[in-house]
Symmetry: C2
Amino acid sequence: MTDAPAASPTAAVLVIGNEVLSGRTKDANLSHIAATLAGIGVPVREARVVPDVEAEIIAALDALRHRYTYVFTTGGIGPTHDDITSACVAKAFGVALERNAEAVARLERHYNDPALLNEARLRMADIPAGAVLIDNPVSQAPGFRIGNVHVLAGVPRIMQAMLDGLLPKLQGGPAIHARTVSCSLGEGTIAKDLGDIQARFPTVDIGSYPYFRNGFFGVSLVLRGTDESAVEAAAAEVAGMVTALGGTPTVTIGTAE
Amino acid sequence: MTDAPAASPTAAVLVIGNEVLSGRTKDANLSHIAATLAGIGVPVREARVVPDVEAEIIAALDALRHRYTYVFTTGGIGPTHDDITSACVAKAFGVALERNAEAVARLERHYNDPALLNEARLRMADIPAGAVLIDNPVSQAPGFRIGNVHVLAGVPRIMQAMLDGLLPKLQGGPAIHARTVSCSLGEGTIAKDLGDIQARFPTVDIGSYPYFRNGFFGVSLVLRGTDESAVEAAAAEVAGMVTALGGTPTVTIGTAE
């Protein structure tokens, strides 16, 4: 790794693709990456969505890779003309984009017919010099890691398989513990007391998320932090607050709705 | 408006909220805003997701508002301690955050009981000086516009109602026309010829999006642009290409999958 992993690693996600900015495609990758990385103690601190435009991709990549321990990109590594992510990453790192022999071998095994493995598909084996391949158990065409940047596919099923495979290679951080206290009180009813509890527990991040489900309004109060006893103590105070305000708290482990 | 609308207006979306970066909440607002703005000829060129942290919100806001015609923020305008968007926007513009009399009046009508309209809920009437309110027909607590920045709620139902109301006040751009050519050929099979068509139609943005649905693989080739005749001509060429390569093209108007 170019950058030594931090004691408390952080991550950013860069979603690359016109289809997400046009509204055609709902990005499903950010939430998956964020939840998966949270599971190993690596919080995602920022995400950006940029179009398939070289200057935009490089600028965002440079802004993120110098600031966070890990960067994960999604999209733009297929065989068509609008797949320019690999070339942009090579430019950002100032290295050549080279046809990678191991990547070619994987594509040859996958397509198993020289006629199918045309020049367009071979472009998926063009990888920045010095990068390490990331396995794609779904359709073989690999992602790659260079420095602290992990380049993944945009198709969620493939992206998820790539992430599963590289997860053991990431340095995790302190486990993030979470409790959710739900109730049917209004946010405005609990806001003052909740703010007081937040002030008393500066190491716990308390979020308030109103919802409307199955015909009922309610609010989920999510407490997160690396100090589990602080998270539990704060959750107990929040539950006590809900009861004192006339509500019925439901406390669950995790951040699930 | 502080900034005069451009002849070809652009937009950026700033999603504010820890819950999106933790993976707890799947953002549903970007795709809605992008599709809605595309409908009036305003392409979204970039999106960012930042946590509920003042410095992060202000930095992202300043980066986006100086670069795009319009900025739309979502989230962080409720009554709880983690709702800091309005204060951050005021700081970014260098103006005071003031209790807005009209916003108070709207909250008074909504809550209809002085006991309910407590200090926490009144915080939702704190608006940057000089901002114009954006109507919230769902729960009254308004959004606002200051300069080219539109501050909207994070709850999708409320955000959508706010956007519907302010849409007629935006200056639209040239209509964006779209055609989708779908077929069951592989991306790699069509990539070369598709790239050639893209090169011949520089004003048309051609995207290639593979899919797996109902047990079938396929690819949707989406053509978008403001020159409708060019979009139609390019779509006809793409359909002809699919036929020549042994596929069966399905051409539809729009970008729907």
